[in-house]
Symmetry: C2
Subunit: 390 residues, 2 copies
């Protein structure tokens, strides 16, 4: 139930000593073909880690035969040496795969690289490269779960997902204890499919899927230097789904992984869904949802079990979305505490004792909607992000 679920993929996750203890920290996903089409989405942060700059170049060619990933170091803000290290990792991976038990005729330019961990420090290449060699040796058609484990940082669980079509499937793994829109606790995602798909179809499916899933979770509004989502297709199933089928399957896997990410968000005591209804446009709905999701005063109120709809309304007021302050309704866990921009049902009726919180914001401007998922702002969030570097 992972990246090795679709036919024609092998993966591995091994311990190379980048993380303390004997935890897995180097992952490898190999596409055995026949095709090696790929699409990628990367962080919008202008400060991009070396592996992001490298993988963007690789993706420009549209071909990816292998993805090598490491935890234990982000290789971000590491200057030209950092980029040389990423390049060396790709070269080493390609060489090891050419020399492997099932030799692949590939070059460094076919290898995408992802890293996650502390920013600003060079990777210990003397441990990483032997780790890559070991990962190549450990490659297996059921190696997906080990790979998913190897990319964990502050994650408490590994994250895998699979959706099956008619004779084909999409598999995926993710790491991230923050989020995409996104936390510095980098989000890395590798998706695989054995469907037959052209470059454009793959790219369209991935962009639509990320727009509807990862772009709508927001743990702390911070944007990582390393976020990467890759989708590989090898056609091994010999089935070509329609664009709609492909997009739906990729979106379903991404949604599954997105929910696992937000469920594992650092220090969260609440899982909050903000559903914006009656928006004039989808963009308005997303903007309003995100503004509420990022508001520290809303997030601390929910941590304190306080259905403080005034803070929600104030967050809506900072957006450029179409709305009239005296027409907005707000419900918290089913109780319409605010109607027409003023107090309505008694806030004491709101039950916030559970882990799940649903906030409805009705703008009464149109028919469009969007849901943004986030978490509360807790003592544990402050603790995790102040006590440990990342």
């Amino acid at each position: 139930m992972s990246v090795t679920h679709p036919k024609g993929y092998r993966a591995a996750g091994i311990a190379a000593g980048l993380k303390t203890g004997d935890a897995r920290d180097v992952a490898l996903v190999v596409n055995d073909g026949p095709d090696a089409i790929a699409a990628g989405v990367f962080t919008a942060n202008r400060v991009k880690a070396a592996p992001v700059l490298w993988s963007q170049q690789v993706l420009r060619g549209g071909i990816v035969r292998a993805v090598v990933l490491n935890s234990g170091g982000a290789n971000a803000c590491t200057g030209t040496q950092g980029f040389r290290d990423t390049h060396a990792t790709a070269e080493h991976t390609a060489a090891a795969l050419r020399a492997g038990s099932k030799p692949l005729l590939i070059g460094a330019g076919d290898v995408a690289v992802c890293s996650t961990g502390l920013i600003g420090e060079l990777l210990p290449m003397d441990r990483l490269l032997p780790g890559v060699t070991a990962a190549v040796k450990a490659l297996a058609t059921d190696g997906g779960p080990a790979a998913a484990e190897a990319i964990m940082t502050t994650d408490s669980v590994a994250k895998n997902a699979v959706v099956t079509g008619d004779g084909w499937s999409v598999g995926g793994m993710a790491k991230g204890a923050g989020m995409l829109a996104p936390a510095l606790a980098t989000m890395l995602v590798v998706l695989t499919t054995d469907a037959v798909a052209g470059s454009e179809a793959l790219d369209a499916a991935l962009r639509e899927a990320t727009r509807l899933t990862f772009d709508r979770i927001d743990a702390d509004g911070c944007m990582s230097t390393n976020d990467t989502v890759l989708l590989l297709a090898n056609g091994a199933a010999n089935v070509e789904p329609t664009q709609q089928e492909l997009t739906a399957a990729v979106t379903a896997v991404c949604q599954d992984l997105a929910e696992q990410l937000i469920a594992d968000a650092e220090g969260a005591t609440k899982h909050i869904a903000i559903e914006v209804l009656g928006a004039a446009s989808e963009a308005d709905a997303v903007e309003v949802g995100r503004s509420v999701a990022r508001n520290n005063l809303v997030k601390t109120a929910l941590f304190g079990n306080d259905p403080n709809w005034g803070r929600i309304l104030a967050a809506v007021g900072t957006t450029g979305a179409a709305f009239e302050p005296d027409r907005v309704d707000v419900a918290v866990n089913g109780v319409w505490v605010c109607r027409g921009g003023a107090a309505a049902e008694d806030r004491s009726k709101v039950d916030l004792t559970g882990r799940d919180v649903t906030i409805l914001v009705h703008l009464h401007e149109g028919e469009l909607s969007a849901t943004i998922r986030t978490t509360d702002l807790s003592h544990a969030y402050v603790h995790e992000n102040s006590a440990y570097s990342s």
Copy 2:
């Protein structure tokens, strides 16, 4: 040393029972003339409290004879009844002043209103209106400090400031334990001057002053529904300063109050100044400074005494400012931990044990600069904002 320092002003602060205990909660500032010119700056939040909507109308006329302020209730998100209550408060204030020991010939349209406290609840008018009557009776030419006390909410100290010119002065009071750019812990500021100043000069001075001071403090990036800054001028000193002199004096009072606000920010353990240097424009410098100031991961790192420059660089990367990632330098408390976008001096040299933190971000794109002041994100911030409604 307050709003009653300039000639021709009286003020009062009394307890009307809006807050628990016998704390002062209704303030009144009266301009005895001869002039009654005024300028105002209000929250940019589109969800504006009733007193903001009212005071914006009053300011359109350019004349303010009295400002009545209350803590213990924001009168925001209170619908048409909330607006009626604000109107009634202004009417009652004008009537009480017409009937006072020193009768003023004014109407409700000459009275600005400010409120601060919990959003979404109606004010207890049965206590507020008698409070206004009592405030009129208590008016005194040394009543400024009592007025400043009456507008406190989660503030731990009252905030007053004065700057003197040649024969004229500017006085001010402020409340706010968050900030302007701004926290829901509303910022209210009343400034007074006995200088002779026309409407346009006053407006220009106030806009420049707020742009350089209150707009550059940012405790939690949240924007209040009630923020108001008013500047009254009565010409009682019979001195007309130049525009430059007036702007400088108003800016100095605002800077003094802004520093008091950030020093009193809720739950802060650090006072952080982010100085952005070498920017291509002042707007770029402000955007970069604010992005760093609002980044929860930077703020939690500083709470944990961690000079995590990677998080700072990542925050810079989310802006649209002109900069090249491999040319940015970052210093934390004087140690250049990052040069050219990569690690430089040893981060262990950074001393973060004190309360004051200075972060320098050099963009190497031009000659312009700006300083944004903020605070860290601490357990106490989470506690104060989760345990108490506002």
